[in-house]
Amino acid sequence: MGDKRFKATSIVILVILAAMWLLPIYAMVNTSIKSQEEVAAQEYLRLPRKVMFNNYLTAFRALRVGLVNSAVITLPATAICIFLGSLAGYYLTMFEFKRSQLVFFWIVVASFLPYQIVLIPITTLIGWLNLMNSYVGLILIYVILNIPMGTLITATFFMKMPVAMQEAAALDGCKPFLFYRKILVPVSIPGMVSAAILVFVQIYNEFLLAIALTRGPKIKPVMPILAELKGSQIAQWHIQMAGAVIVSLFPLLIFILLSEYFISGLMAGYSKE
């Protein structure tokens, strides 16, 4: 069996597939810096003759309020999810608690069920609390829906801690919250970061609740605004693509710079590996 031949073939296949996977993003960025005339010529793969950063200004102007709204909603929601979720993860993994399996089970089920099924009660609840079209309403709902995931991922990491460490701290009279703050959090920073990235990306990329719980542009996060950009400027691909790049910049940067955390978060969150 020619192992060299196999290696060569597999590299060729991989390169072709990789090109297919990169083509959309290349075309997207390439088109986003072209002038309207060049876009109309439809030679999408050719590099631009003239680079038009103006497209980004146009797109940014349309998305600015949405980006600010997304930051105002996503950052606190993520922080709350990770803080409260990790406390629960700590409790479930390190305390004497007989029901912890059962509680885990219902948390896992809640985190996997598609949240679309509770859209109607969510809008009813938020309307009843008078929180329609408010930051607080969206933050509240995102926290409720993502806390299970925050708990599960942090718990997965806490489980790998040596039990002896916590037992020694308890014997020395270290209070539970002090142990959490001074020992557990500092040593499980990678787990916390993984959980935060996954929850952040999930909330930032969310669309259905962002349209269902907002009216008008004041509170609207960036994803619905990008969707409207597509609706309003039907043939202006270059502006749409510039908008898509701007919106994806943050998650992609996180992915590129922190990909190990991103992957371990995915693994812990979905597979419980």
Partner: protein
């Protein structure tokens, strides 16, 4: 000595409340689906299976169900298969592994709305990327409507999700294959087994948990594809790309028929729970020692 439970029960309370709210909302939805609605107004009068009966009479509902099953099959099988094969190919080349992994994984960081915007442009019959490339090669693209063609629109949409999720299948299988012993693969290699045989008769049966994780997670994803439908086609042409969550949204907010919207959610709940509950049982039994 573990900490006693009473001490830190306050740690658990916020999550218990959140999870209780989620299940509370599911129960509310269940009640709503079995009661009479006057447009958007609840009467809380028991309606039996009235809403479900109305729903099941709609041809639209069955088209949606069929579309959901198309998603289940044509999304899960190719994504899992390519992810698995890629993971095997990666196994052979340790150094380049990291670069290639990033290339297939980056779409996972994108929002469905971004993927949808991008692929709606790729597929655009008049000015899209695919037809411009094919046109450049001298192919007549007049009949290649992609996402605009009723018969293939849903497959075009599924392909864009496939593009986005292959990286997910890849990392799951990379983890699973790494857990196998190299000796097993080496031995098969020495025995002269071809790569196809090694892949499907030796490795595949031994990464069952990876396959289970992968297919279940992808199946749950198919229940969430609302955003892609919204941004790429709005359910069209006609209702050919509609899926249940999309119909649920339309029933509730465009047709103001909450009773049937709630009944649709319950259908989705039943389909999702049939996958989620057994999977969660399995995951917990493996996970909590």
């Amino acid at each position: 000595m573990k900490y006693s439970k009473a001490y830190g029960f306050v740690f658990l309370t916020p999550v218990v409340i959140a999870v209780a709210v989620i299940y509370g909302m599911i129960i509310w939805n269940l009640v709503a689906a079995f009661t009479v609605w006057e447009g958007m107004r609840a009467t809380w009068k028991f309606a039996g299976f009235l809403n479900f009966g109305n729903l099941f009479e709609l041809r639209r509902f069955w088209v949606n169900v069929q579309n959901n099953f198309l998603w289940l099959f044509f999304f899960i099988v190719p994504t899992t298969l390519l992810g698995f094969i890629l993971a095997y190919l990666f196994h052979g080349l340790r150094r380049a592994e990291k670069v290639f992994r990033q290339i297939f994984l980056y779409p996972m960081a994108l929002a469905f709305i971004v993927t949808g915007t991008l692929w709606a442009w790729m597929y655009d019959p008049g000015s899209g990327l695919i037809n411009s490339i094919l046109g450049g090669l001298g192919i007549n693209t007049a009949k290649l409507g992609w996402i605009a063609l009723p018969n293939i629109a849903i497959f075009c949409m599924i392909f864009s999700a496939f593009w986005q999720y292959v990286g997910f299948a890849l990392v799951i299988y990379m983890g699973a294959i790494r857990g196998l012993s190299d000796a097993m693969i080496e031995a098969a290699n020495i025995d002269g087994a071809g790569h196809g045989r090694i892949l499907f008769q030796i490795i595949f049966p031994n990464v069952g948990h990876g396959t289970l994780i992968c297919t279940t997670m992808l199946a749950i994803t198919t229940m969430k594809v609302f955003d892609l439908v919204w941004i790429m086609t709005g359910g069209g042409p006609g209702i050919r790309t509609e899926v249940l969550p999309y119909m649920m949204y339309r029933m509730t907010y465009s047709q103001h028929n909450i009773g049937m919207g709630a009944a649709t959610s319950i259908v989705i709940l039943v389909l999702a729970a049939a996958m989620v509950i057994p999977y969660s049982k399995w995951a917990i039994s493996k996970w909590v020692r």
